[in-house]
Amino acid sequence: MWDMVLNVLKDERAIAFSIVLLTAFGCTPASMTESPRDIQLSQKWELQPGDVVAGRQVLGGLGDISLALNGDAIYAPFDGRVQPYKPNCVIFSSEEMPVYLFRLCGLNQQHFGFRRAGQALGTGDELRLALLTKQPDGRWAIVEPSKKIIEKMLQPS
């Protein structure tokens, strides 16, 4: 009988050990560092968000839509990934929507890495959003985002 109890205890110890191992090595969240995204723009505008002119940082440029977020969040329209891009800007990309990128500037709290559709990408007071579409030569062009996609990004799903 004691053999059985000891065996069970041994099993329990094995289970506990596996759980500790799994927690330490298997279940730790993925690293939160995201590599910066590099994009070649097809439009040759002189000033882009993040550039500096006479010591002042450019916050938005041609093609940006400014949204009064008033401290609220902007949400992922699809499952996708947030990467840093220039000071104060991020790029959101999605495998479900391969030829489009969102450039979001002015977020205070940014969440880098993989985000599920409907999860917050960050919060901000005044968000500047640009939609980029991939050109046949591999560069990205700024195009006008639809009202529907902006509505979707302003509401958690």
Binding site: M1, V5, V8, E12, I15, A16, I19, V20, T23, C27, F78, D79, E95, E96, M97, P98, V99, Y100, R116, A117, G118, L131, T133, K134, Q135, P136, V143, E144, P145, S146, K147, K148, I149, S157
Partner: protein
């Protein structure tokens, strides 16, 4: 004799089962492991709802290596018909979305025959082939 023998072993079994439950509960609590099946289920459902096909077109459709190689030679922004002649019917369609003002983006899914975990997503806007991407689960 049998009854006398069975009764204590049953009690012991219950005791051991109780101990096991308590230990696993203790471990879950001390190691701060999530134990919330409903939230896990909700998450899975929300994932499915964002990536689910709205329409299954051809359940057995897959894309071969040679079809993929031919597709990659088609320049983006060319005719939708050119691409559809190569990739044929898709496995399914994702919901249409409006991303760019004035355009409706249609997305078709072609699972890769040589890598079933990966699917080719092909995007069309009207009669124009817009581009492709690879989607993993």
């Amino acid at each position: 004799m049998m009854k006398e023998f069975k009764a204590p072993s049953l009690v012991l079994q219950y005791l051991l089962a109780g101990c096991c439950l308590l230990t696993s509960g203790y471990l879950l609590a001390t190691l701060n492991l999530p134990f919330n099946p409903t939230s896990a289920l909700k998450e899975r459902q929300s994932v499915r709802s964002t990536t689910a096909c709205t329409e299954i077109v051809k359940p057995k459709a897959t894309l071969s290596r040679s079809q993929l190689a031919r597709l990659l030679t088609v320049p983006e922004r060319s005719s939708r018909r050119n691409v559809q002649q190569i990739v044929k019917e898709p496995y399914c369609r994702l919901p249409n979305v409006s991303i760019r003002a004035g355009a409706k983006t249609e997305r078709e899914i072609h699972p890769l025959a040589f890598d079933p975990q990966t699917s080719l997503v092909v995007l069309y806007e009207g009669e124009t082939y817009v581009g492709y991407g690879f989607k993993r689960p």
